[in-house]
Symmetry: C3
Subunit: 248 residues, 3 copies
């Protein structure tokens, strides 16, 4: 995934494209359950979907903002988003503005550039603007807030490629971001393959339970039968055509 763009920065990730695509086919609920089974916290608290119905998975490309220097402010805008020319296709931009919701780090122009570069989504520990245009574009945007006030001359780019801390959950460059209408979470790169496998089993278990309930079984019995206590093990018994089920 890195190096696929002419001027791409190198995102050091150990995650194969195939694993990202498997995570992209899962919802955040299943991925979160898989993380739970490993004792890992992935949720990026307070960051909500701003374009209903979108979902994404991609490699985190991290951006850190800081307030402008007081003595340097005034005469000129900082080009706070020029990093975008260097973001590789397949990335999810993760921009940290310290959770500030009073000024923005994303808008319609960046959305257009991101789309043209194959960037998959944007996750802001901060705010966005141009919401109507971004919604019309169907671009997956997740943020702490919404306002129309620009971050220009209020914050400036401090770094790219640093870990980003969202209420205690750390996103490192190269980790995988998965996000949908439930919110956004991070899967550590070294766990991505294991999480994908466990999350797929969670979905198989849930599907087996749902099918049994549709066939008239009580919920408690269906959950008992298919091993809901450890859904990441896959449907324990009785599933027809289940793959990857290993039992407990």
């Amino acid at each position: 995934m890195t190096g696929s763009s002419p001027a791409a920065a190198v995102v050091a990730t150990a995650v194969p494209v195939s694993v990202v695509e498997r995570l992209a086919a899962l919802d955040t609920a299943s991925v979160s359950d898989a993380l739970d089974s490993l004792g890992v916290t992935g949720v990026l608290a307070g960051i909500a979907a701003r374009v209903p119905g979108t979902r994404t998975a991609g490699i985190a490309y991290t951006i850190t903002y800081r307030p402008v220097d007081a003595d340097a402010a005034g005469s000129q805008f900082r080009n706070a988003a020029n990093y975008l020319d260097d973001v590789p296709a397949g990335s999810v931009v993760v921009a940290d503005n310290g959770g500030r919701t009073d000024c923005t780090n994303w808008g319609s122009l960046l959305t257009a550039v991101a789309r043209s570069r194959g960037v998959r989504a944007t996750v802001l520990h901060g705010s966005a603007r141009d919401i109507a245009e971004i919604r019309a574009a169907g671009y997956p945007l997740f943020s702490s807030g919404v306002t129309m006030v620009s971050g220009k001359n209020r914050v400036q780019l401090a770094a790219t490629g640093l870990p980003v801390d969202v209420h205690g959950t750390v996103v490192r460059p190269g980790d995988v971001i998965v996000a949908d209408d439930n919110g956004a979470l991070v899967v550590p790169a070294h766990l991505a393959a294991e999480v994908a496998e466990r999350a797929e089993r969670v979905e198989q278990t849930e599907q087996a339970i749902a099918a049994a309930v549709r066939d008239g079984l009580r919920l408690d019995e269906a959950r008992q039968r298919f091993g809901y206590a450890r859904p990441w093990d896959g449907p324990a018994t009785g599933a027809t055509g289940a793959t990857g089920a290993t039992g407990a």
Copy 2:
């Protein structure tokens, strides 16, 4: 309404089905005004509609969660939602997770089970996940928050049938829940018939005022004419075909 399901738990309610249906035809604004006229607080503060355009009324079936026992956690999920097999048709599930928004008590599987049992809606003093699926299903869901983190292994069922306190407003089993895009409220069972009658008069008064304004009357004059000061008495004068108007 109780006993209408094969394995239904008994929900002790004094509210006739016909009264629930009358409340189901009213919006929360009118019902709230009727409660105001009786000096009763019904609003369940902080609980918002998660599926725009849905509305509901039904008998409260209450569920209480508590954090998992610290010394017992770890090895196995608690089947935190198996109560659902016993909820009667016509119920609204009211689940109390103490307003916690960091883990969920509802998702798409429970939605499917609830639908199949004739459960009308779910109100969470807590959070939900699988929002996209629940929205696609058009299921009336109201909650304090949204996240993808499961309540499994974080909280466990403490009780069913206890009163639930939402910021000072108490929901008792058998009360009537009314909810729409404005939020959710509770109508105490013993007041349900009186509230339905007053709320119907509120709507008649509002309709009389709206019609008069459409015909060119000033708002202040229309309100004066139709007794807006006490809308639960019904349109005071001039309404054609009004029923149930008693005047002040």
Copy 3:
């Protein structure tokens, strides 16, 4: 704009209709950038769009509420919204309930009256109800919160025509309100023409940059070329058919 309604109150505004219409054609992001260039804060913090996809600009007509007198409460509702008969066409109602979100100052009846009078939108430092109906009507509504609890008998009209303070940003009668999915802001009347001109240049600059990026230019180069540091000066060079560009 004032005096266009039979019983219109006089809204003292120095803003020509043509300037309001120019502001109505701009989005809040561009207008906010123009205000930034003048060192003026316009954002009405915490007030969010409640009807996605709507936008508005109009002359602020201010309303102030206060809690009902404790010793006078009880026997009768205050007709808290009868001011609406006197609001001129082209206005945006700005109602200050001190940011309270536990009771409402707007609903579907007021929306119908406002529409019939040519009122363009409503901005509440407070809450609204009848959200489903207002959304169906496509009326531009912006508020701090949503609930179904009436302000009747909780708050009463204290004044019309006073300045309204929203977290430090002051709206004066006759100022211009601009609002869209990003939120709501105020443009002081005496700056309206200058802000419209600068905001138009901001949009020209953004459009020039967007076009260049679509043509394959890097974002940083496009921003450099078109003077993104001072977008309110208009696209600095290279824009075809740009009007009003003055350069830095």
